[in-house]
Symmetry: C2
Subunit: 278 residues, 2 copies
């Protein structure tokens, strides 16, 4: 069965990279605060970094803030990734970072927006509303969903680190571990991954132990201060895959330009993997 | 200090209503699947129900699904509420049901989208990312935020009902109760409310006990099967306010038309309140 993750693994092999390039057109990075500037910023990033990108991750918020023109720009950016993929003969999956989560009939509309209208291949989702809020996104195995598990921000301690006592369980565990277990339970179509920040390596090791097979989408290396080697040591699966390192600002704002920065990061990941005997 | 909730309470007094009219243009309710049909569906609802509406709640998903044209339609619908408000001389607040939640710099873009670009007065937010994901929405007291606490769907059992053991606490409590406590802690500006489904009256009573002062936004009465009297008995504050009953389908699809359905619901709420000695 082809799934989102089989496409992703093919791409990972094609480009020898675990790098996910974040497309976050912060207003502060744009010459002028317009949808067109946001689009051009991302098109430049896509063109420069495509050879080294295992995936691209546009964040919906930075487009939504420009209203209708922003949504047009977002669609154009996703289309541009498709054009680069066609040019290279290797599909680069697009993960829409939208962190959506709503009751089932509403979630269906979000799924249609992400997968049909925008043409994204996967989406990030918030698990707080439970299984029926996730199902509309995972019916088609070729589309993927990354559930927020342990995020990279300080506020992730507030709920995600709470100790929970599931009915019938013998001991308590942090909520993020419970979410990892739920993700495995819900993964009948093999198209669920987890968002696991790279800012806490020990936490990442624990989530890897709880979900040995799932792909992680991991922000936090680079501008947010996470260390690449500890992240890879804690998060890689036994097959040396299973982890997308998302980098946004450190690539977009690199003095040497985003293409060179992405190439260097790709190579650094390869080197660290060798060092760790993968 | 004027806050979102002082505006809301003024409106509640003006129209003697606790009814929040949900603006959910499901494709199945539209003559054709277009943004224009979604807009016209909502404009009709707004015009017919404005006299009885304490607030309106458009759900972003049903507009987002139409791409850029959908966002234009959403803005026009919010503007139409403003026009009805001006005509009646009584501001009807608009709560954007978007259930957003992202790290702080991204949340800022969502807040700008909801409050500045679209002109909504409040938004629904998912608390899973913690305090710093909420803060960008609550800096201005005149804008409000309803945190998802206990939702009305079946999947709300999966995470929200988990028993949690906060550090230093003597006993465990469901996660939704913990979220209610957090909302009170974070409410320095007096502009945080909670989303509490009306489908489980006992749960609603428990959340009311945990947060005696907060406003609830409560879906689930009507099409979702919640009973009006038990909801009001469980959720009203001592002052007979503190609770917005959101109704979408039962009004939009009413055989007698949405205006009459909204008027009847408003009156039913008034009657039940009398019966309950408010």
């Amino acid at each position: 069965m082809e799934t989102f993750f089989s496409f992703l693994e093919k791409r990972v092999d094609d480009c020898s990279s675990l790098l996910c390039v974040g497309l976050d057109p912060h207003v502060s990075d744009l010459g002028e605060p317009t949808a067109k500037a946001a689009r051009d910023f991302c098109l430049h990033l896509v063109k420069a970094t495509a050879p080294y990108a295992a995936a691209f991750k546009p964040n919906a918020a930075f487009f939504e803030v420009f209203g209708p023109e922003g949504w047009t720009a977002l669609k154009q950016v996703i289309e541009a990734v498709g054009e680069e993929s066609a040019r290279m003969g290797s599909l680069i999956p697009v993960i829409l970072d939208a962190k959506r989560g709503d009751i089932a009939s509403t979630a269906e509309a979000y799924a249609k927006s992400a997968f049909e209208h925008l043409g994204a291949h996967a989406i990030t989702l918030n698990p707080y509303l439970g299984r029926d809020s996730i199902e509309p996104f995972i019916g088609n195995p070729e589309k993927g969903a990354f559930l927020l598990c342990k995020t990279s921000n300080a506020g992730s301690m507030d709920l995600q680190n709470l100790l929970v006592l599931p009915v019938g369980a013998e001991s308590s565990a942090p909520l993020y571990i419970y979410v990892a277990h739920l993700a495995r339970q819900w993964n009948a179509n093999g198209n669920i991954g987890l968002v696991v920040g790279a800012t806490h390596p020990q936490v990442m090791s624990n989530i890897r132990a709880a979900a040995p097979d799932l792909w992680f989408l991991s922000p936090g290396v680079g501008a947010q201060g996470g260390d690449l080697e500890s992240a890879l040591r804690s998060g890689l699966r036994k097959d040396g895959k299973g982890m997308l390192l998302n980098v946004s600002r450190s690539i977009a704002r690199a003095a040497e330009g985003p293409g060179l920065a992405a190439a260097e990061l790709r190579d650094e990941i390869v080197n660290v993997k060798h060092k760790l005997d993968y």
